[in-house]
Amino acid sequence: MQEQQQTYRKKAKYTDEVVIDIRDLYIAFGSNKVLNGFTLQLRRDECKVVLGRSGSGKSVLIKCIIGLLKPKSGSITVCSQDILAMNHDELDKMRIQIGFLFQSNALYDSMTVRENLEFPMRRHGLELDEKDAEGRVLEALANVGLEHTVDMMPAELSGGMKKRVALARTLILKPDIILYDEPTTGLDPVTSREISDLMNELHEKYKTSSIVISHDMNCVRTVADRIAVLHEGKCFAEGSYEELQQRTEKEIKQFFV
């Protein structure tokens, strides 16, 4: 089993430049304090995994980063710009640089794969002529090995293919930062491994920095440079896979069984 494990990433090649700086984030829904003083830094070229149990607020965390949810207090800066102080237009501009891969893929059911991929380009007002747009669509699909699906509807695709198309759509604006919300949850082990490898490949190719939310330890082990453990709304621990594997606290150990 061990030797057919995935290609491990070369660790600690990222730089010291902080691209996402999250400090003391606090958000509650009613009396449910989901994030309670969460702090995290992402460096350029780094792939950081956030581990946490289901319902611990991982999705809430990355939705705050992209401005889909507003935290009660705390600060989020992306490339030294304060996300929480931005108006609508500034936020839109920032979102071109941040790709988001949704847990449920969020492919538009009523559109073909091509229209799905064109949607972010058109809506962000990228000035591209027909040929360039088509070129970008095919390039993005080639990256995930699915050029032949360009005229299909999402309903015709398997779970793994949907995830790949969603990833292609995330990549189409060539973002500097990608946020992955449970990229392998709900996929079979083989497909999960393919997606994890693909994430590494694309990370190498486009030099993106990323935050990955996951509790699939095979995926975590494959993609993570560093891992943060989210527990009770705080960052409980942070370190490399090997470092955290040695720890004995049950909050960490539960993930490494």
């Binding site: 969020a106 538009y108 059911d109 809506r123």
Partner: protein, 256 residues
């Protein structure tokens, strides 16, 4: 004082729906305008409802005529049949029945569509792709239902009246031109105008409630089904409430 739970839920929901509707007026008249999507929705909502609206309209006119005839014969005013039926269709039966069918078909499909977009994060995906999902999804659909329902009602009225013509001719022999003359003699502006105006409100209510229910769908497939279902129930109820208001208003304005 503690309010009963169900009343509290009702008031909260009414407040939510009002806020959601208020947002329509804030967003609809400010750029950017989603023309392409609006036209697509008009086609989907209007054109695709045509066969159903046409068939029900036809049957309604026919059946109404056949039901009314015996009473009119008893009173010896059988000659009034075309006038009576067309008045009933244009003023009340046409708008309300068409709106109810529209609520069943379009209200539920909007509720289910937006509901599934909500739970599979497609609405969030639009938001991060430089699109205001309220404008793109809600404003376009509500504008389309508001505009399409009156047109559908007028079509349904026309088909119903043709059904009535056939109904009259089952037991009598009236020419089409005489029938039409009888209909237009009795109808005047004050019958048609209030009936048409209220259908805009019906259309608005169906679109708004469908979107509201879909947009606030709870996670899971039951959530989506529930949205579609409550969208139909609530918008049907709303059609009757608006109809009640409309009759009071026309009464006060002396349009009766």
């Amino acid at each position: 004082m503690e309010l009963p739970r169900s009343l509290k839920m009702f008031l909260l929901e009414a407040g939510d729906l009002s806020a959601f509707t208020g947002r329509f007026f804030r967003e609809a008249f400010r750029p950017r305008y989603e023309w392409a999507e609006f036209i697509r929705q008009c086609f989907r909502i209007g054109y695709k409802s045509l066969p159903l609206i046409g068939i029900t309209g036809f049957i309604m006119g026919l059946v109404l005529t056949m039901q009314l005839r015996p009473s009119l014969v008893d009173y010896g005013v059988e000659a009034q049949l075309p006038a009576m039926v067309s008045l009933a269709i244009i003023r009340e039966v046409g708008p309300v029945i068409t709106a109810l069918i529209f609520a069943g078909k379009i209200g539920s499909s909007i509720g289910a569509e937006l509901g599934s977009m909500k739970v599979t994060e497609q609405i969030d995906a639009m938001e991060v792709s430089g699109t205001n999902p309220y404008k793109y999804l809600v404003v376009t659909r509500v504008a389309a239902t508001t505009l399409m329902l009156p047109i559908l009602v007028l079509l349904s009225d026309a088909i119903s009246i043709y059904g009535a013509y056939l109904g009259v001719n089952i037991k009598a022999n009236t020419s089409w031109s005489l029938f039409v003359r009888q209909v237009f003699e009795i109808l005047d502006f004050s019958d048609v105008l209030p009936a048409v105006i209220k259908t805009f409100f019906f259309g608005f209510a169906v679109g708004m409630i469908g979107c509201y229910k879909g947009y606030n769908s709870k996670k899971g497939t039951e959530g989506v089904g529930h949205s579609a279902n409550t969208a139909v129930v609530l918008s049907s109820l709303m059609i009757f409430i608006l109809d009640l208001i409309a009759v009071q208003v026309t009464d006060i304005l002396g349009l009766n």
